[in-house]
Symmetry: C2
Subunit: 355 residues, 2 copies
């Protein structure tokens, strides 16, 4: 495909640990309910799923935050649960509740029925959105594609939706580990195919969200979460050299595992706010770029406080390349868009003066 | 006061890092809704607060799990929010919801009105319960008193109840740190007086629950949570030598701070399931006892699996003194009491064969 040349490559350069003129910044859930223009498009779409499954609308909301803020990357508007949905679990959103599956995975027989979905026929709407967004971006900033991690997807697949304590999947991990491994293996195959298809459709970087790895004890984390992210890092073709498509492994509660995550061969690790970036950098010894990690709640503070905290985060990373600024988790619906602007501008201002 | 001599001192010996014949075990929330006899007493009391505020009923439910299981310690049945309640915030429980305060702390003026409550007049019902339980125990096992940590109490005081993202208190920490420090200082004074009064009333060990320290970034954790727990460890009189009243600092999400917690001078640190006990032990260099840390969700697994996981937890601690077995967090209302019995017996059986 022939896309416009990239005008702002700060984000990709930082992921490749090359020098930049200012620290690049994007924000998890930057296209979302905190923006009135998002809420308007969402109302027109009729439902969240209609929004996510209509490429033109997904493209529209993906671009909205870029028109407001000086962001250095766009991220595909979609949901991590498109993959299990395409595997036949029947994703739906009950009013005022989180995502649910009509047919959750409760037995080995359920697992045996799963297969890697055909990307073109089952998830073509995602690939169409990626290509459309990439074209509409006209090279302004790079486009990030993404997937849930195998463990995180399996959490929703087994629990049937969100969970307070993950009792079903943890019981499966303990009572029937081989069944869970079978589920994670096919899900990992699907995730790799999904990310490869997004790359082929135009995604210029790829992020894996391991939202729920941090609920596991260290032994179970290594066996059921880390192992499958390492498979993605090892098996996903990302090209070579200067023109590669960098992979970011983000995890809530991954602070204890940064050395192991860096050793997977991923290009970057995304961290939440529970670790100091300087410590994360020392422990990963410059083998990966780091993405993060301001506590999202900081956006409820006064603008002057936000600026101070942005500077503290940049200082905690220190000098030199390899840092992508982000929140440690997503922006919330009740946050003030003006505060997001303060954050984005403060990242560029403070870091360009420092560099 | 003249209490019966202690018949089972495993728990206190382990906290003092002395040899034991089997690893002692108790379980956070061991007196609670998962027990039918608790639900019967709770129904008789009419409300949770009536149960907690009536010494005879609090004593009754405290002893219930000891009649079922071979536990090595009793823990006062109470609520961490008795202290802010006594400080005038008006604790109540809305139907089907968590705890709430009628008069949360929202301004510096609110903070300025706070004072350390008089233990005898405002919290006498707690001290009466401690003395009654200690007498009724007749030396079977030691009695643990407890308090919420200053930071955790402040979370409820500022948020007005439970919180998803702690936006109010974090905004206070960032925008008005000196106001929050004033709140934490008076709350710490109250906690120290409260624990001292429980010790005087008969408590033989004292645990501080820092349930919400783990939501803070490292810098804020040190400033707003750790600092005040260190004050408790430094200022709370616990006696000397062999007859001391050991202090346990428990925290969810405290894995990154074990060295710092051990350096406070506390006798023991309680950890959740997100750290390997062997690693925790190496990092605290035998300066403290360790309490924990099986993932509570393990109780949903099969009995044979529970036994395997108990053995793995004991093995992760390794040989030698200084381990109190516990869950990494409390038992849940829908857990099977028979599985708790499996756990308790497995701890004693496996550890006594190992020792």
């Amino acid at each position: 495909m022939n896309f416009a040349p990239l005008k702002n490559d700060r984000f990709l350069r930082a992921l490749r640990r090359q020098p930049v003129d200012a620290t690049p910044v994007w924000i998890m859930r930057q296209a979302g309910r905190y923006l009135p223009e998002y809420r308007a498009t969402r109302a027109r779409a009729g439902s969240f799923l209609a929004l996510a499954k209509t490429p033109e609308l997904a493209c529209e909301v993906t671009l909205q935050p870029l028109d407001r803020f000086d962001l250095d990357a766009a991220i595909l508007f979609s949901d991590i649960l498109t993959v299990p949905d395409a595997m036949g679990l029947g994703l739906y959103f009950a009013d005022g509740e989180g995502p649910k599956f009509e047919r959750p995975i409760r037995s080995e027989a359920d697992v045996n029925r799963l297969a890697v979905p055909d990307m073109a026929s089952e998830l073509g709407y995602v690939m169409d959105a990626v290509t459309l967004i990439r074209r509409e971006l006209q090279g302004r900033v790079p486009l990030i594609g993404f997937s849930g991690s195998p463990w995180t997807l399996a959490c929703y697949m087994v629990e049937g939706g969100g969970s307070e304590n993950f009792s079903r999947i943890k019981a499966m991990a303990l009572n029937s580990p081989q069944v869970l491994h079978k589920l994670l293996a096919v899900t990992t195959d699907a995730v790799i195919a999904y990310l490869a298809a997004q790359r082929a459709a135009g995604a210029q970087a790829l992020q894996v969200f391991d939202t729920w790895g941090g609920v596991l004890s260290p032994r179970l984390y290594r066996e059921f979460s880390l192992h499958y992210m390492a498979r993605i890092a090892a098996e996903l073709d990302r090209g070579t050299d200067e023109q590669n498509t960098p992979l970011i492994l983000f995890g809530k509660g991954n602070a204890a595992y940064l050395e192991a995550l860096a050793a997977t061969g991923t290009e970057a690790v995304g961290v939440d706010w529970l670790v100091d970036l300087g410590e994360a950098r020392a422990r990963t010894r410059g083998c990966v770029a780091l993405q993060g990690n301001l506590d999202p709640v900081t956006l409820y503070a006064e603008p002057e406080t936000i600026r101070t905290e942005v500077a503290a985060t940049l200082d905690s990373y220190g000098h030199g390349p390899g840092h992508v600024f982000n929140l440690g988790h997503g922006v919330s619906p009740d946050m003030n868009p003006d505060h997001v602007r303060v954050l984005v501008d403060a990242v560029h201002e403070y870091s360009s003066n420092k560099i």
